[in-house]
Symmetry: C2
Subunit: 235 residues, 2 copies
């Protein structure tokens, strides 16, 4: 993503992603209220509750998402008579503009902040570190272009295009297979990093089964606005 | 500090600081061997050992310092038949060039890395987070210029200079008082953040008592090379 705060920066061109976060707030509130069991998911022995945002970019969306989650968790803990300290990890590729992210951390924030550089398709935290893992409008980014898409001798060759709308079915299959590998890598890594009883919140743009390639782009954004999201408690 | 990797960058102008780290290795090895009690200082319930470098700048010195510490701890744990995962936090002012720091993280590093922006004169971590806190050639940086040093009506006015060598005794007293406040703030913050039984390693340039102001600069570097360092176990 473009760093900084200029005209073409992510920070000034991410209202769609902000909208997803705003619309997912109720869903996250409910997931935390109903699925995060503070009896089986206590904060660490030092009373710290750890949250990570995977694919945070440079803000301000990530700050809003993290504050929404903290607010819901804080409410739940207050009802039980105690509140933990929050440690929030902002994670994105090493090339992400962390300098800008850190410069715009909200003053008076109610958490301790850290930046974590690296691909979310790999392990980024020690085992059993996180209580909540969050990712919004990020998981559709692949770790690489499928090699057959670039191979002029392959039926999946995409003629130099970066979209697969109206492309041959083999192009769709190549991208789909790559996403399969990537999401598996993401889930394997998070399965190690999230504590037992922790929660994972994912907002992912998606298409319905059987959607023809000619409608991929329209369909993607339609479903995107329908907000296909999942919240998974880890048991 | 100057970021990046240019001619005037910290990365290319910090051989003195590197020398301090190299010369403190034996002292740190001994401190970990003799003072870090892995019976009273076990890693967290998730088997994570957390280390922070306060005033890390942009590397490569901080990477060498952290690897030295990990090597000594790993050796100690191996003797006991188990090894933890290491989580290393690189901390410096928000204006530090974390982008460069992250870009030069050693490939194949044996730890998970995070950057922590903020002043080490404040709390930067939740309570009971860290097993080892390290700071090398950083604690002499003050949080502010003492205001009387800038006051033309004060006997501590330093005439616009940024050094106090050969200055009036009141100038020395003003800087000394500011350092007193700053080191107290640093120690109070770390006292909350370090686990019981954890270790703090500080390399700080210093002067001997009774050194006249005219010899401050020479003396500072003399003692610097003598490596006045402390290692404190927290009981």
């Amino acid at each position: 993503m473009n760093g900084g705060h200029g005209r073409n920066s992510y920070a000034n061109n991410s209202s769609l992603q902000r909208n997803v976060i705003d619309r997912s707030k109720t869903m996250i509130d409910e997931a935390i209220a109903n699925h995060l069991d503070i009896q089986i998911c206590p904060p660490s022995s030092s009373n710290t509750f750890r949250i990570a945002d995977f694919g945070c970019s440079v803000g301000p969306n990530t700050f809003i998402a993290m504050e929404n989650i903290i607010e819901a968790i804080d409410l739940k803990y207050r009802k039980s008579g105690s509140t933990p300290e929050f440690h929030v990890y902002f994670s994105d590729h090493t090339s992400n503009d962390f300098n800008t992210l850190f410069a715009y951390l909200p003053p008076g924030k109610a958490y301790f902040a850290a930046g974590v550089p690296g691909s979310f398709h790999t392990r980024l935290f020690p085992k059993g570190t996180l209580h909540v893992a969050h990712s919004s409008t990020s998981l559709h980014w692949l770790s690489r272009v499928p090699k057959e898409v670039l191979d002029t001798n392959s039926p999946a060759y995409n003629k130099g295009r970066i979209l697969y709308t109206n492309a041959a079915h083999q192009v769709f299959e190549a991208y789909s297979a790559q996403f399969g590998k990537d999401i598996q890598a993401f889930l394997h890594a998070r399965a190690e990093e999230i504590v037992c009883g922790g929660l994972m919140v994912l907002n992912v743009p998606a298409i319905r089964d059987q959607t023809p390639p000619s409608e991929f782009q329209t369909e993607t954004f339609s479903i995107f606005w329908d907000l296909v999201s999942w919240t998974w408690p880890r048991r």
